[in-house]
Symmetry: C2
């Protein structure tokens, strides 16, 4: 495809994308895809067709095959997982990135790619109220950022063991600490970094806030020290995935400092709240951390994959991650930052353009207004649920996620879990809204994560009416037909195609 063919095709695609967004934002689809595993694959040919197609043909395929297979993040009644991927300004930035075709291997391979990233990350540092002791880069996700942080922690605690026998030669076992509500990627990162599950402590929670119990952290560390183990790293979470619980960073940092532990703060979802001065108290103490991650691709709405990773000691990071092969040497070495030495991949996209476009076209005040709107909607919903008999808000609501449970008289334990799963699945199957569930304090609850770009108060009000109607109906069904009538949401459906393995 030459540039002129591209021009024609791209104009056609622009209109389709704009129309798709209009339809999604207008609620023109069931929020959650209604397809079963294998349905999409069954519509695609087994092998690449010999004939090529046109952009019109391809757009028709997207419409027929892909759109029904999407769970629409920009539907105004999407309350699932987390708000994400909204900003059309950032879509343009990403398009410019692909169109320019720059490739970040070294500073020399695309100077602007490196320097725009430095500058925009510095803008976001200022907008987040962080001191100028921080330097930032972009990773794909907070999972990767956490892995990088734990690798740096591992090397710091082991005196750069990678240059010797690696973790295989380390004498005293290194231990990682995180709250029992930390994201699954923290445990994954600890395991991938080689610490081993036996050296991962999931610290007990404060039973009402679901945040890390700092005294439990302290006693876990003391117990490990008494057995000759080394507290290498602590991961604190601001805004846990299930309930947006806020680990007390200042207290945790005090403990970490006392024992020489590396402190990583995972604020993947909640980090966008740093943009609001009135919410920065949730991050009190963050300046004492070694690294901090937050994802503009979540609540701030930048297109995936945009995870910010700030560190206070770039030299240590580079010492752990750097390579310097002759085929990448250039005259800029030593004077320019080499972002390949700040993360895992060598080749990097020009991801800073997504942020540049969003910040310069939408502007920070529009972003802040939207965040405040979502926080206000969450407060409204929490108040409404709290005042409704038979319903309960089961966790504090520091941000935009409201964790609720419908607790009809007489239901408890696993029966209550089945009810929670059943009514939530019923809402999702209906297609008018999308919610997710999670276990908190040993019981299932329903998460209402508010913040898709088009979500206004009226959508939250409509959701609340829907939740009550569906939950009541499900509860009546459960009572009238007994346990077997509660089909729940977990019965695995059979795949319809050989491809869905």
């Amino acid at each position: 495809m030459n540039p002129e063919e591209f021009r024609t095709a791209a104009h056609e695609l622009v209109d389709w994308i704009a129309d798709y967004r209009l339809r999604a934002e207008g609620g023109g689809f069931p929020v959650r895809s209604r397809l079963a595993p294998g349905d999409v694959a069954a519509l695609l040919p087994d092998r690449l067709p010999e004939d090529t197609t046109t952009i019109s043909g391809l757009v028709a395929d997207l419409e027929r095959i892909v759109v029904p297979g999407l769970t629409h993040t920009q539907h105004p009644s999407n309350f699932a997982w987390f708000p994400a991927n909204a900003s059309l300004a950032s879509v343009l930035g990403d398009f410019a990135s692909s169109g320019l075709g720059a490739i970040g291997l070294s500073w020399q391979s695309a100077p602007a790619l490196t320097e725009v990233e430095q500058v925009v990350l510095d803008w976001l540092r200022q907008l987040s109220g962080l001191s100028d002791a921080w330097r930032g880069t972009i990773h794909d996700t907070a999972s990767t950022a956490c892995l990088v942080a734990l690798l740096v922690a591992r090397e710091r605690a082991s005196g750069l063991s990678k240059e010797g026998g690696g973790l295989q030669s380390s004498v005293a076992p290194l231990v990682v600490y995180a709250s029992a509500e930390a994201h699954s990627s923290v445990a994954k990162a600890a395991l991938l970094a080689g610490f081993g599950r036996k050296n991962l402590r999931l610290v007990a929670l404060d039973p009402t806030s679901y945040a890390m119990d700092v005294s439990a952290l302290e006693s876990a560390i003391r117990q490990d020290l008494s057995r000759g183990r080394v507290p290498a790293a602590v991961v604190a979470t601001v805004g846990t995935t299930a309930s947006t619980a806020i680990d007390p960073i200042r207290d945790i940092a005090g403990v970490a400092r006392q024992h020489g532990s590396y402190l990583h703060v995972d604020a993947a979802m909640a980090g966008s709240a740093l943009l609001l001065p009135e919410y920065r108290h949730l991050f009190d103490g963050v300046e004492a951390a070694d690294s901090l991650t937050w994802n503009p691709h979540k609540w701030m709405g930048t297109v995936l994959d945009t995870s910010l990773f700030y560190v206070r000691d770039p030299a240590m990071l580079e010492q752990v991650m750097s390579t310097n092969p002759s085929y990448l040497a250039s005259s800029a070495d030593g004077t320019a930052v080499q972002y390949r030495d700040w993360g895992i991949p060598l080749g990097r996209r020009f991801r800073a353009l997504k942020l540049l476009f969003q910040l310069r076209l939408d502007g920070i005040e529009v972003i802040r207004e939207r965040l405040r709107r979502d926080l206000s909607n969450a407060n409204w919903l929490a108040a409404a649920v709290s005042s409704e008999p038979g319903w309960r808000v089961v966790a504090p609501v520091p941000l935009q996620t409201v964790c609720v449970r419908h607790e009809p008289t007489g239901l408890s334990g696993e029966e209550l879990d089945r009810h929670t799963l059943a009514w939530t699945e019923e809402v999702n199957t209906g297609g008018q809204a999308h919610l997710t569930t999670a276990i908190l304090g040993g019981r299932y609850m329903t998460r209402v994560s508010i913040g898709a770009e088009p979500t206004e108060r009226r959508h939250v009000e409509a959701l609340w009416r829907l939740m009550r109607a569906v939950a009541d109906r499900t509860a009546s069904g459960t009572r009238s037909s007994g346990r077997s009538g509660s089909s729940g949401g977990r019965a695995p459906r059979r795949a319809r195609s050989r491809r869905a393995r």
Copy 2:
């Protein structure tokens, strides 16, 4: 930005991108950016401006600040590093991905994202002549793919040590083997995975092919075994970075199998040659490997980041990488593939659309024709260089990279190195073409990596004329002014801005 504002802005951006590509393909820029470290940053404000801008304003900024800070991958005289990021059809696929805003957390979060990836990876498997024993996914880069491969190898060799004390409890040291010409990311992956540099063997090379010497591999393994170490993994490279040397996979696989070692094949650059049946002999034995990576974002021209990762035992991969938190549970669990368990990041972009668009719009035959054109151009250049007195092709040319050295009478050793660096830098400074250098067999040489999409024979011919003229001129300068006249290409320039650290 709402969808209608997006529509207007996107149409404007489309035209700018098309025009940029026309200019780049027409050779309208110096290939390598002429900026010094800090130049781009110095043009950007220190903090986010309070006013927002329009797409026209932003495009003007791109033109003024970003374009001069690019090394233009689509310039027809770009022979640096590797050809990449060309296909405008794949740019459209990437744009569709961002526009749809799908987010891959689980199958349920975007069924089409998972299933299109499965199907398109299967198409590419067939087009690559691989058996149906392989299952594929997309990672960002071959660096990440190699890290994942070595993590699986580590866990296989240690009996899933991650579930116990990790590498910290492993008894016999695990060792990784790769050729001395393996990409720097292989050593980086081994170090990040915790093996330690002491347990990484960079196996000696065959002195003429620069491929791994299999007998050296065998004796390294035997020596390690005799000292109680475990040969956990071998990484074979098809197409090394410096010279596209081809490690003999079949022989290496025999050795790996004998000792129960995991075998990963890194064909990041050369993997595109799998699309040409007449070049598959370079991959002879690949069916005996455990994993294989090749990057369509290199020679095939798909937009970064598109690194294919094929494995023969997805269950083992999932055992190493999986997490299963309650907040991601869905009724599709157990029946659908969960790609989060095939790699490091949890959240994934809809990257398969880049491949779908390129394959369906450009078609495989157009891609194959382009690859064959590049191979023919490389053969032509190699023949021309070989027959020119004072010039030498210093490595075999199995693919599209030609490694050359200008060896004027009387220059050798470090003096010759300085000459190589000097004339190559002189070519690059001139802006008419872009070449890179690397060390091979202890001496610098110049790499001519052919395959930017607009690169035709005439551009290679012009390059060859330019190389001779510049190298001759540089050599005369060196002879007339002595050593001090050879400034080389490595003198670090001072940064012009505080930001370039």
